[in-house]
Subunit: 240 residues, 4 copies
């Protein structure tokens, strides 16, 4: 177990009422957590919920695809909580459609949210991690980033780019004490927006956010003699 | 968390003073464990150690590459402990050499220990798992089973076969409630035989067996809404 | 063999004195070729060379990372030669460095040249290909797009994105008669800029552009009952 | 183009009325071909057909899963034709079924035909190839060897093993002048036994043996500065 565990600060980028919230709740049990998302409203709600449970989660509204907002967000976090030991990059944007359907704007928008934002946040947080020779960066991936389907002409390349970034970082930063991992979430997560979109989907075909969060927690606490770089999670019913 | 957790029986096939022992020790903290290996001697030592610590680990000597010995071993386990809920297949045999160096006998011997034994043990234990609609099977893989190097002409194909088996089983048995996973151990494990062979290797380049066992433990307890099929473990210093 | 072979028009995007030129020369033996690159000068030289040999290659200067220039370029090609049956996307930009070294601008620049430009060109040419139910799109990939090394923090994600795009397109467009393939060039190509940068590299460690072009030619003429989607090329001496 | 091209001898192991015959016919146009299969009858028919067309194809009946028969077969070939420059290993055996369905005997039988036979033949022919610093070995793979489905519990591990062998050999023998490649045939081949089994399958969903053979031919003649190790072939209609 990492010796810095007791005092680590966690940042979750991409917090909404689904996986992001579950990750924040899971890590808040032991650490102060910075909650990052574009809109302030849900962050406030979740922050208050954590507070009510005796945990600490500060809301940090920022568009993580903008370099200056990323800088400002992490400046705030460092000032209020301290240096980020564990970054969970859970942001993304999925516009589905074949190349016949998606536009150049869709292609770029997905890349900005899935890959460019990941680069910006990671580049910012590794400065302190390198100084402390310790840190964890977990990226929420998707099957489209491992195998891009016909309707993933925009989302697939964006998630592929994220995985490429994770690999490069893992190879560079691992020997320097920073654990980088990519988690392929292979299936639909049981969260409000999925329920709204696929009303009839059976519960046993969905990944439970709390279950996913357990694996993130495990990864974030692996001994450095046995780190995972790439892993995957899917419901037991999933075809793959 | 699996409802059968409290009463599960665990079998570790391939128990020696290294990863096998660490896995047995980790799971014995909560469950009765059957220890399977070819030679009785180390099993007795480890069984006694577990007993001294208040845990239960029964020694079951068997050559798991022989169908009749596999049958007999699991008959014994079922009689003495009950049906096997969690099988960890950690057996193997690594003869290194290029195709110019290894013989047909080497090629077959590696396959028997790495893949055929896995098939025999898995085929035997899934009978009860299917009846209980619950179970976990974890396979110890190796990098040679993902990317076969020039000196893995015998070992590589054997570990590849194991991974193919794990994939086929995961796809067939997952929807039936049995969690199958393959763990690629990408690096050298800190165990006596490795120390003996590579005396000068730095400790930080080795996987600690106890650290590996933590991830097996995590995998064995994943919620079925978020199962891992393939994952990997390596020291933070490892080139990959 | 494709029935449209005799009359096909080929476009090579990313033409410089190396692989781009070799591809143009190879296909020009049988088809009119449009040569696309940012700077006019080399295009004119190559166009003249082709003409001197009795072949047809028209220079089309365009920055293929700009939507409007891509439109204009293919409008020109259609007007002067006809609809593009075979697109070879060979453009790219490689800024090497770890995440500690590369900037957000580098990250974006590599993505624009490797992935965004590919999307723009492909999206443009498939319109006519779909109408003719025939076409070939070949993408020049790199090992960094399959396995991103520590110094590929910008280039790796860009080439990963390209591969994701190729996969999505292949799955969508294949059944509609358009053959999409991704060729991983795993090694250094014997071209002027590589020679200049790595002066001392032995010739047998380099991929010959003409040899690569033979495989592109083969792929571009596969029967549609047996298409390749992903393949790779490397020198016989390459470690992989 | 390889300088030994004019005089090379080709051996095809696994010759039946489908892909094996198409490969033999394709290479026989330029080279003497040894036809290897267990049963003599079809070999005689094909040998006669080749002769009638002015080509040379000698029948060599052998069970390539038996070391002594492999030795004898290649002794015969060397005596009658010369050293084998190009070996195409197209043998195999596919018993489909989940782990619940296939037996240990099925598991072993598939491995013997797909992987062990490949090892035996390859180990035998590389002796002369190494002496001549030249040679080509092509392995017929299958999707089950890349991604093992639920009903590939026997066939999948066997084809995985073959791919592992191909990789190890390629990495060892490439720098010594021997080109090893693995071709994933991702789909059903249009051959009599497939037609008999899946009578109603549409022709456009099948790989044409002659089309596959064109890619084998291409691979067998790649310049050593640009060799392919892994590639894949599938019908344009195939889902993947």
């Amino acid at each position: 177990m990492d010796s810095t565990m007791d005092s680590r600060i966690v940042a979750v980028a991409g917090v909404g009422p689904g996986l992001g919230a579950a990750l924040a709740r899971r890590f808040a049990v032991s650490y102060p957590v910075a909650l990052i998302a574009r809109s302030q409203q849900y962050l406030n709600t979740l922050s208050q919920e954590l507070l009510n449970n005796g945990y600490k989660g500060i809301p940090v509204a920022a568009d993580i695809t903008k370099p200056e907002e990323v800088s400002r967000a992490f400046d705030t976090i460092e000032r209020e909580l301290g240096w980020v030991h564990t970054l969970i990059y859970n942001a993304g944007n999925a516009i589905f459609g074949s190349i016949r359907e998606v536009s150049a704007e869709d292609f770029e928008a997905n890349w900005r949210a899935c890959a460019f934002g990941a680069f910006l946040c990671a580049k910012r947080v590794i400065q302190e991690m390198l100084r402390h020779k310790s840190g964890v960066i977990l990226f929420t991936g998707a099957t489209a980033g491992v195998k891009a389907g016909p309707r993933s002409a925009a989302f697939g390349p964006a998630k592929f780019a994220l995985r490429g970034l994770a690999q490069s970082m893992a190879r560079d930063l691992g020997p320097l004490g920073i654990h980088v991992a990519h988690i392929n979430i292979d299936g639909m997560i049981d969260e409000p927006k999925v329920r709204a979109r696929f009303g009839s989907v059976s519960e046993e075909n969905l990944l439970k956010p709390e279950a996913i969060a357990e694996t993130y927690w495990h990864l974030a606490h692996q001994d450095k003699s046995a780190w995972t770089m790439e892993t995957e999670l899917r419901p037991f019913t999933e075809k793959f």
